[in-house]
Each structure stands twice: as C-alpha cells, then as structure tokens.
C-alpha cells in the first residue's frame, strides 16, 4: 500500500476548564489525542469511528493543520506537513480539503453560491478570470447534481442536502487529493443522507480521491469505509479492514458499539 498520508505519534492536550467561569484548577490538562500513529493509503476511505469526546474531530483538524498538534509528525504525499511554511504549505493545503457536518454553518450566508464554490480558485489560482472561475464552478456544481441556476442564490435558499452538495463542490473545485469529511451526513435526513453518501462514493472513483471519514455511526461508515479505526479516549482501540472490524471485531468496545446499533427487524 502506498501511503498518501502518514501520522506518527500525534498528540493534543487541552487545558481542562479554563475560561471565565473556571474555579482555579489551572494546569490540569486533558488529553484529546494520545500518541496516535496511522497511515492512509492512496484511494482508500479511512474511517475513524467513536463516540462524542473521543478525539476524532481533533484528529481531523490536525490532519489539515487547522489546529497544531503538541507532538508528532504528519507526512502528506511525502512532505512534512507540520514543517511546511508559506508557499509550500499553501501548495499542500490545496491538495487537502474538508467537508463539514453542518452545511448550515460552513457556508458564508452573505455570499452567493457561485462565489462560495469558486472562492478557493480565487485564492489558489489568481491567474484565472472571473469568467473562468464561474465556468469551473458551473461544471463542479453540475457534477454534484446542482444546475447553473443556483449560482446567484444564497445558502439559506437551499435544503440541508443541497447545502451539503454545495460544500462538496467547493471542496472539490481545486481537484484535491485528500478529503477529510467530518460527520458529513449526520445532520441530514435519512433519504438525503443516503444520496450524499452515494455521491461521495461516485466522486471518489471519478476524481481518485482519498477520504478520511469521521463518524459516530457504524452503519454509515459501513457504507463507505475501506478500513475502520475505532477510537476512544484519544486512542485507536482497534484498526482493520472494514469487513473485519464490522463482522469480526476484536475489541470489547467495538463489540459494545456494534451491539448498541438499533437494528431493523428482518424482512
């Protein structure tokens, strides 16, 4: 397997309490991510599953350097991500994009959809004309199932599923290599969530994308993951091929999570 992403000894701690209402207790630190090492192969979907507070979102954000780890290394396409500065960092960043859980919060409400989707082009390809950006945006929107009539509308005019499609179009417009998706279908209705999951699978195939897919839901992850890491208290308790983890779990905690999934009666 050829690793596109490799993390070694990742660690992140936060100060416990703190803030205006804290009562002393400075110095006590809480370990969100505890000495985590893993590799993600080119073209796979590496899913990180865990309950709230397990540290999965902190990992996602460190992979894109949205937050800085306290310790550890991240190599992306052979480059040392944490050591990259200015131009080198910008060129790495355009190859890795994020899709967020809440399509309502992640789109600028004052920007038109066309501007939102084309904005990364304006930053990373300053040579492109406004017309060129718009044309590229139209093609990408079409690919996620939205017509050119959406370009001049605002995010609030769209349903949750449509907003998530807009977020995906924006993430893909620079043709990145890696997408980190943090709970991308959790806020969506069941019928729409299924549409978005299938769209992500199609796009992965078409654009040769690698996904890091963060979710609390084993049934959702089962639809898309190549490999699954089960996370609790900042560590991976189990990591393996999706089929193995789902159907032959090794760790008691994985078994507990699987047993808690509410099952539908058999037809």
């Amino acid at each position: 397997m050829e690793a596109i992403l490799s993390a070694r000894g990742l660690r992140k701690t936060y100060r416990r309490g703190g803030g205006v209402f804290s009562q002393g207790s400075d110095g006590a630190r809480f370990t969100a991510v505890d000495d985590l090492s893993f590799e993600v192969a080119r073209g796979e979907t590496f899913a990180i599953v865990g309950e709230s507070g397990c540290g999965k979102t902190t990992v996602a954000r460190m992979l894109l350097r949205l937050i800085e780890p306290d310790a550890g290394q991240i190599y992306f396409a052979g480059e040392n991500l944490l050591a990259a500065r200015s131009v080198a960092l910008r060129s790495l960043r355009r190859q890795m994009q994020m899709i967020f859980q809440d399509p309502f919060a992640s789109l600028n409400p004052r920007m038109r959809v066309g501007e939102i989707v084309a904005e990364p082009l304006a930053i990373h390809e300053p040579g492109l004309t406004a017309r060129g950006r718009r044309n590229t945006a139209v093609l990408m929107l079409a690919r996620v199932g939205l017509g050119a009539e959406v370009l001049d509308r605002y995010p609030h005019e769209f349903s949750g599923g449509q907003r998530q499609r807009i977020g995906i179009a924006r993430a893909l417009i620079l043709k990145p290599k890696l997408i980190v998706a943090d709970e991308p279908v959790s806020a969506l209705d069941v019928s729409v969530g299924a549409q978005v999951l299938l769209l992500l699978l199609e796009l992965q195939h078409e654009f040769a994308l690698t996904y890091v897919f963060i979710s609390h839901s084993l049934p959702v992850v089962a639809q898309i993951a190549t490999r699954i890491a089960v996370m609790r208290a900042g560590r991976f308790l189990e990591i393996g091929a999706a089929e193995e983890v789902l159907h032959h779990p090794r760790h008691d905690y994985t078994r507990e999570l699987l047993a808690a999934v509410p099952a539908l009666p058999r037809t």
Binding site: E51, S52, S159, G160, G161, Q162, D189, V190, S191, V192, G193, A194, Q195, L197, L198, H216, S217, L218, P219, V220, A222, Q223, A242, L246, H247, E256, L257, L258, A259, A260, V261, P262, A263, L264, P265, R266, T267
Partner: protein, 321 residues
C-alpha cells in the same frame, strides 16, 4: 385496553408571508394506556408540530381544526377546546413531553431537585414540603439516576449528557402524567447511551402504564421502542400499523424508500429516495410523494389518496394498495 388519546382529523395551519401552510393535515391517531406509538418522519413532515399541538404549545396565530380527546381516570377532555388555564393542569399533569436537548427543559441555574419539586408543586400545591422532596427523589430514582439525593443537589451542567436526559425524564414524570411525548429524545446521544435511555423509557412505560408517543426520524430506533408505527410525510400520516408490519411489510412507497435509504451494517444495500421533501408552500396536487415516487401513475395527482386497508390493522395512503 381503552384509548388514552384519540385524535381525529387534526389539522394545524400557520400563517407565513407566502400564505397559510398546513404542517399537520387531517391526522387521526390513537394511543391506548400503556401503549407506544412511534411517529416517524423526516424534517418538515409535521411530526413536531403535531406533538406541540397535543401539548397546547402551538405558536401564536396557529389555526387548529379537528379533535383530540384525552381520557384519564374517568375524565374526558377535548384538548383543542381547552383554555390556557385548563392547559396548565393538563401539561405536566396529564401529558408530559421530553426533547432531544435536555437543556430545553432544564433550568441551568436551578438545582435538579428544586426543578422537579417545582413540577410537582404546580400540580399538587397542598402537598407538604417534606413530601414534595421525597417525591422528587423518588422520581430521580425511578429514572435510574444513581445517588438520587446527591444528584438532586447538583446543577444541570454538573451532570453528563445521559444523566441530564434521565433528570429530564424524571421531571417530566414527576407529577404522574398518563401520556409521554418524546421528541427525538436520543438523537443527540451516543449509541451506547441511546440504548440505555430506550430501555429506561420502555421499562417506565410498562411499569407506569404510560401511553408513549415516540417521535423519531430513525427507523432502527422506532423498531426498538414502538408497538405501532405511524409514518408522516408532508403533514399527513401515509402509513400506519404494527411496528412489525410497517417495518417488514411496508406498503407505501415512501416507507419502502426510507427503509432502503437507512444505512445498516451491511454494505451496498443503500438506495436513496430521489428528490427532496416538498415545501409546504408548494405541495403537489394529490399525493405529496408522487414527484419522488418510482411507481407513480396518472391518478396519483388527481386527489390525495385515502388511507386504505393494507392488512389487519395496517393502512397506507396509496392508490397501489
């Protein structure tokens, strides 16, 4: 089993800049004492507006038609004719509600015990203080809150998410209501915690012979808690029957579609429903699901189909049934 709640042809209309919309349209349902009805629907289906109507908590300006009757301990109340002061006796005393986010019901600056005591005192003002206190701790104990006397002295923020949910359940049940409306009570919880709360609600329903109206978008959850299931789409109940029949032999194409779109641990079985839920301001004529339906025919747009018998105690609002 006698019916605790019976709604007949209940509609709720709301004024919007684009004119009146009808989030709840001619809904009829019944819940017997000790029975659980799962109400399933996606966002915009009207399930939450229906529950607010049954609690007398509709937004100002709402227009209601149809009937809902609550029968408890020999008294029969027509809910839609109640005055606000009559509602105050029914809310909490006869019908209680719990929400997805416990902090919707809990006061952040009041100790848990004091909040539950307040809920009891509203309905039993003559009870001695010591008796009220004892009842509040009993309520926490019933909701399986460990060390109830200690927890009663704490504030909501000192409790974990799961304990807060239990405290909210304790408060909802403290004054002895007969019907509990639970609106997505486990949606924000982790699966392991969800499992515990579902088990708790099931036990309380059996022990206290509560009627339970459980609102959720999750078919897996409804399979765990409901004896009967009603599926809502664009304000109407489009299928109703025993949980087993509706979930294993769904007759309405929307119910069938929801089941196929629900992820399970098996890969590759996922089939989305095309399109999106229609806006209430622009409902299609006839069956509201027709534009998304793979089995649509010309007659589907002619009129809203009636609920038709699809088996014993099983009905679906579809011309194909």
């Amino acid at each position: 089993m006698s019916d605790l709640l019976e709604a007949h042809g209940l509609s709720v209309e709301l004024p919007t800049p684009a004119g009146w919309v009808r989030p709840v349209s001619e809904v009829s349902l019944r819940i017997a004492e000790g029975e659980s009805l799962g109400l399933v629907g996606e966002s915009g289906s009207g399930k939450t507006m229906l529950s607010l109507g049954l609690m007398g908590l509709l937004p100002p300006g709402a227009r209601v038609s149809g009937e809902a009757t609550l029968e408890t301990g020999g008294s029969r109340r027509r809910l839609m004719a109640l005055s606000e002061s009559e509602w105050r006796a029914v809310r909490g005393g006869e019908i209680a509600m719990i929400f997805q986010e416990p902090m919707t019901s809990l006061n952040p600056v009041m100790r848990i015990g004091a909040q539950i005591e307040e809920a009891i005192r509203v309905h039993q003002p003559k009870l001695a203080a010591s008796e009220v206190k004892r009842k509040a701790i009993d309520a926490l104990q019933r909701a399986a809150v460990p060390e109830p006397a200690v927890r009663a002295q704490q504030f909501p923020h000192q409790l974990s998410g799961g304990l807060r949910q239990r405290a909210m359940i304790a408060m909802a049940l403290a004054a002895g209501p007969r019907l509990l409306i639970a609106d997505e009570p486990t949606t924000a919880l982790d699966v392991t915690m969800q499992k515990q709360i579902l088990a708790l609600l099931d036990r309380l329903r059996r022990d206290l012979k509560l009627g339970l109206l459980f609102i959720t978008h999750d078919l897996g959850v409804v399979a765990q808690v409901a004896e009967r299931v009603a599926v809502m789409y664009a304000g109407r109940i489009i299928e109703e029957g025993s949980a087993r029949d509706v979930l294993t032999k769904p007759k309405h194409p929307y119910t069938q579609g929801l089941l196929k779109a629900s992820p399970t641990l098996k890969r590759g079985a996922l089939t989305p429903i095309p399109g999106i839920v229609p806006q209430l301001t622009a409902l299609p004529p006839g069956c509201a699901f027709e534009p998304r339906c793979e089995f649509r025919r010309s007659e589907c747009t002619a009129a809203v189909p009636a609920l038709r018998a699809a088996g014993e105690n099983h009905q679906a609002r579809c011309v194909l049934v």
